[in-house]
């Protein structure tokens, strides 16, 4: 059975800290891994990763995929209170089934 496991489930840090969020997966016929940020309503897209070792970067956020070890990390540097959110990891297989992990709830203290 396909599954996505995120850790930690909850994290509280101070503004300015760097955080690393983890996502491991087991999926048949992997196609891509996706990261989303969810604040009050619908999730918003951050990154799609398909190849190992290639870092995707957007401002203070970056992510990388390891297809051999079946995991991805999402890094946020110099965190700000606006980074407080639930971060969701999802995996898409070749049948285009997309399943999510339980998310990491990140809270940034001012």
């Amino acid at each position: 059975e396909d599954k996505v496991v995120q850790s930690p489930l909850s994290l509280v840090v101070h503004e300015g800290d760097t955080v690393t969020l983890n996502c491991s997966y087991e999926v048949t016929n992997f196609r891509s891994l996706l990261w989303y940020k969810q604040e009050k309503k619908a999730p918003t897209f951050l990154f799609m990763l398909t190849s190992s070792g290639i870092e995707k970067k957007s401002g203070r956020l970056s992510s990388i995929l390891d297809k051999k070890e079946l995991f991805s990390i999402l890094n946020i540097t110099a965190t700000q209170t606006g980074d407080s959110a639930i971060y969701l990891c999802a995996v898409r297989n070749r049948d285009d089934k997309i399943i999510f992990g339980k998310g990491t709830r990140l809270h940034i203290l001012p």
Partner: protein
Amino acid sequence: NAGVTQTPKFRVLKTGQSMTLLCAQDMNHEYMYWYRQDPGMGLRLIHYSVGEGTTAKGEVPDGYNVSRLKKQNFLLGLESAAPSQTSVYFCASSYVAGEVYTGELFFGEGSRLTVL
């Protein structure tokens, strides 16, 4: 562009009642998905569709049915609602790989359903 629109946004049902959630997208996307979100559970896939006239089961399909009669619409039905189906439901759609494919799912704003 409206993007992905879900109706209704809120609904309260009594146990045993039926209802249908409508998801409409105006981006000509092939793929559409229904998820439910409960506290601490992330998004769980109910059903999805890879094209008009096709549907497939997700992780938690029991108690739900879906139909994709038109490419732009994906309907989620509850035949006999149960309190365990109290949740926030999200619809999402995406491109076919190869058509400006980013892998991004475009989400609706969510529908909050309460079953008493």
